[in-house]
Every structure is written in C-alpha cells, then in structure tokens.
C-alpha cells in the first residue's frame, strides 16, 4: 500500500459520495452557473457599459461569480464534509488503517478543487460562447481563480478542525464567504469602491483574487501584489490546516 493508492481510492470514493449528495453543490456550482447563464443570455449585459468604464456587466461580474463558487466550495462544502467525518468517527476509523491521514485530506482537496475548476471553466466558457469574449489575459485569470480555490480550501480545512460542530464550522464558513463576496464586489462592484476599501479588501483572499481576475479580464497589465496576497493566504491556510488537523 502506498499513499498514492490510498489517495486514489479516496478520490474515487469521495467523488461518488459527492455526486450522491448533490445538495452540497447547489450553492457552489449550480447557483453561480445559473447566474452566469442568465447574464450571458441578456444582450445588454454583454455590451460595453459606460458606468463600468466601458466594460460589459458580464466582464465586470465574471470574476465575482468565479470567486463566489470557489469560496462556497472551499469555505462551506469542505468543512461540512470533513467536520461530518470527524463527528461520525469516520476519521477515527480511518486512523486504525495504514492509510496516512493526508490521503483523505488530499482526496477531498482534489475532488472539491476539481469541481471548482470545472465550474470556473464553465463560468469562463459559457459567456465566451454567448459572445461576451474571453478574459484578455486568460492565464493570469486562471491562476488567480486556482489560487483562490486553494486558499479557501485550506481555510475551510482549518475551520473544520477548529470549530467542533460541522454545522457551526460550515455556518462560520458561510459568514467568511459572505465577507469574501463583499470584497469581491458582489453587492457593490469593485470599480465603484472608494480607494480605502479597495486597499482594505485587496488584503483579503476574496478581494485579491477578484482584483487579479478583473485585471486579467480587462487587459490591465498584471501586478504582483494580488498574487502575493493570495500566495500568503494559501501558504498560511495550508500550514494552519496541517497544524490544527485532529482525528477526533
């Protein structure tokens, strides 16, 4: 038995289980996809809008919707699954096997990240097919989306370890996610933020990722800062997740 075979078995199994529990994916996958489809079919939303500096509604909101999906998956779906496994003694049971602790964690990361990547890809492709165009710097857009996913998955894992009840962990995850949505401009577009709010939210993973994706969409030359912020959050979350992990 190697860590790889154990991880592969977990990946197969967790994929199966996630597909049988589609309720978990409604917020993180179905809702953002529905939002982008609705936007993409409205012609006016695809046209340049002087209120948004000459960019379309779809272009301005696309990063926000991607961030909505990655934050829900990382901050609420992850703690709900992992916390539930701990509460039901599933982790304790696994501990008696030769499979390393990291195997299940890695598998959950892989499975949820795969869902996040698939959803993010559709959130980019669907508007492109509808004629709203692709982000100008697709590579940077993807990198920001992936980093935000990793940071949120790490933070979700920490939440699952630190908060005893899985319901509370995923509830707190929801609150954190809502703050991320605000930082990403869900209620008020980031282009309309006053300068101080931009500076403040740029330090959150939600704000930094959205800014990096916005820059990529709008063809603004990429700046290093949001990526540094995201990398720091990801590293911090990963270190904390490893330190705080508990079997029971």
């Amino acid at each position: 038995m190697t860590a790889a075979t154990a991880t592969a078995a977990h990946v197969r199994n967790e994929t199966r289980l996630l597909l049988r529990e589609p309720a978990a994916l409604i917020f993180g996958a179905v809702l953002p996809l529905a939002a982008i489809i609705v936007m993409a079919v409205i012609p006016a939303a695809r046209e340049a809008n002087p209120d948004f500096g000459g960019f379309s509604v779809v272009q301005v909101y696309q990063p926000t919707i991607v961030l909505f999906a990655t934050s829900v998956l990382g901050l609420t779906v992850m703690p709900a699954i992992l916390g539930g496994y701990r509460q039901q003694g599933i982790l304790r049971r696994l501990r008696t096997t030769p499979a390393p602790a990291g195997a299940l964690l890695a598998a959950l990361f892989i499975v949820i990240a795969a869902v996040g990547l698939l959803v993010s890809a559709l959130l980019v492709v669907v508007p492109a097919i509808a004629g709203a165009g692709l982000p100008a710097n697709l590579g940077w857009f993807v990198l920001a989306a992936v980093l935000s996913l990793l940071a949120f998955l790490g933070l979700g894992t920490v939440l699952a370890s630190v908060v005893p009840s899985p319901a509370a962990a995923s509830g707190i995850g929801n609150v954190v996610a809502a703050i991320m949505w605000f930082a990403s401009g869900l209620w008020l577009p980031r282009v309309a933020f006053p300068d101080w709010l931009v500076t403040l939210t740029d330090l959150t993973p939600g704000g930094a990722a959205t800014q990096a994706m916005l820059n990529a969409t709008l063809g603004v030359p990429p700046s290093g800062e949001p990526f540094v912020v995201l990398a720091v959050w990801t590293a911090l979350a990963a270190a904390l997740a490893v330190r705080t992990f508990r079997w029971e």
């Binding site: 038995m1 592969a8 078995a9 977990h10 199994n13 599933i90 049971r93 008696t96 499979a99």
Partner: protein
C-alpha cells in the same frame, strides 16, 4: 516474547485516573477478553494499547512496536473495530470494502468477508440503510480486511440478535484457528466464556481478576447443591460438613452453598445417614456470578 506486552499502563483524563497500572501479556494466537462495568477503563485501555490515545505511563509493545510512535507497520499488523465509528451514510457495502482493501498490502477478498458476515445480498446497499447488526458486521469485516495478526474488537456483538452473534463467534473461532490474536472488549460473559482463552476483569482502572473463564468462575463463585426438602435431613449436621458455608431452605428445597468439593461431601454425609437426595441439582458458579461478585467488591472498595 508476548505479542502484546503491556506493563504499568496508566492514563488520566485531567484529574480522573482511568487506568491505574495495567499489566497484560497476550501470546500469539490467544484470545483474551477484557471485561468490566461501564467506566472501568476497558475502552481506554484498548485505545492506549492500539495507539489511538497517548498513555501517561507504562510501556506498551504490540508485535514489538510501540504504538506511541504510530508506526505504519502497526496498522498493517493490527485491525481495530471501534465503538461509535460510522461510515458515510451513502457509501455502499461493496464500496466500503473496496476502499478499505486499498489501504492494505494483502487484503482479504471482499467476497470472502461478504459471505462470512452475511452481507452478500447487501453489497449495493448504502451503509445508512443497513440494520444496526448489519452495520456492526460490516465494521468487523473492515477490521479484518487487512489480514491482521492482531485484532482488537470493542463490543463487537452489542446490538446484534443472538443468531447473528453466534455467527460472528463462529467466524472469530475460524480466525483463531488461523492464528489471529484477539483482544475482545465485551459486556457478555457468555461471549467471553465461549471465545476467550483468558479473560481479565477491569474495575476502577485496575485488573481485579485474570485467568481462564473457568478458573475465574470457580474462584469467585460457590457451588450450590440443592434437593427436595426431606424431614429426615438434619440441617445442623449439614452445616458441619467440610467446605459448606451455608445451608438454607428456600421454597421447598434445601440449598447448600460451599466450595468446589462441597457437593461431594454433602452427598457423602447424606448417604452416611441413609438418605437419598431427591431432585438433586448441583449448580456451578458461572462467569456471570464471578463477574458480579468481583466488580461489586471493586465498587465497594
């Protein structure tokens, strides 16, 4: 050297001492029962020996390994079935076996375990839809899937109906014949008497008795010799018979309690007086009696 070697095992939760120095040696192929009332430290002992809890003192070796180091090889050697451990509700029986078999180097075929534990017809059933007994059977099957040399089974038949319980006992006997060493935590004296070569009785974090089920039963209980009341019997004379501790009349029977040799002595005394005991019955102490006596003593200390 013993396959499981425990000396002076101690564990406290805060200021509460749960284990106050446990010594236990189990040889390869032995089945040892761990008995004791709730809160006596049975589960904690097994979890410390299995490396799921950190001990406060003493030494523990399982197949030469210290569980405190949590060596990977220990998990290949030791299969554990724990209380209050569930599987995800939506995982199917066959899938659970498939996932767990991926963790071990040389797993038992799932089909063998399915058949042994009467789960063949439930391969596609989700864990959450199984009965309590079926869930328990699956849990034991998972503990044995890696062909462990040592298996710890905590309350393995709790919640099972008598027929299912017997089925599992038969399987465990087969495993013993294959040389699997087992530590069984159980509430059922009958189970311990049926399966175990040796039992230890825990009370208040200490081992208060250990030995074969028969020797423990004989050591703590008393033989009871009883027969139908007969006016010719002199009760006072019976009280003087060697080994007899008490003589009483209950309902319409004379009841004589005494040591292991007392029934023979009582019958001898009756025969000498020319009396034939009618409706004679001799009852040996059971492990149940011994258990209750020992744990009551412990509780009153």
């Amino acid at each position: 050297m013993a396959l499981i070697d425990v000396t002076g095992l101690r564990k406290s939760y805060g200021s509460r001492e749960v284990l106050r120095g446990i010594d236990l040696q189990v040889d390869e192929g032995e089945i040892v029962g761990v008995l004791g009332p709730n809160g006596s430290g049975k589960t904690t002992a097994v979890e410390c020996i299995g490396g799921l809890r950190t001990r406060d003192g003493g030494s523990v070796r399982v197949a030469g390994m210290d569980p405190a180091d949590d060596p990977r090889a220990l998990r290949e050697t030791l299969g554990m079935q724990l209380q209050q451990c569930r599987l995800p509700n939506r995982i199917r029986v066959g899938e659970a076996l498939e996932v767990y078999s991926a963790f071990y180097a040389n797993p038992r075929p799932a089909s063998e375990l399915l058949e042994r534990f009467g789960l063949s017809r439930h391969v596609k059933q989700p864990f959450g839809k199984l009965s309590g007994g079926q869930q328990q059977r699956l849990s034991i099957a998972l503990a044995l899937i890696g062909r462990p040399r040592v298996a710890f089974l905590d309350e393995l038949t709790t919640g099972l109906d008598p027929a299912a319980r017997r089925e599992i006992w038969e399987y465990l006997k087969l495993l013993r014949d294959e040389g699997v060493t087992m530590l069984l935590v159980t509430h059922f004296m009958e189970e311990a008497a049926y399966l175990c070569d040796r039992v230890v009785i825990l009370e208040g974090g200490r081992i208060v008795a250990s030995g074969t089920p028969e020797s423990i039963a004989a050591g703590a209980g008393q033989q009871e010799t009883s027969f139908a009341v007969d006016p010719a019997v002199d009760l006072d004379a019976l009280r003087l018979v060697a080994g007899v501790t008490s003589v009483s009349v209950e309902r319409d029977r004379v009841l004589v309690r005494g040591d292991a040799d007392s029934p023979q002595a009582v019958l001898g005394a009756l025969a000498a007086a020319g009396i034939t005991a009618r409706q004679l019955r001799v009852t040996s102490p059971s492990l149940d009696d011994a258990y209750l006596t020992l744990t009551r003593e412990g509780a009153s200390r």
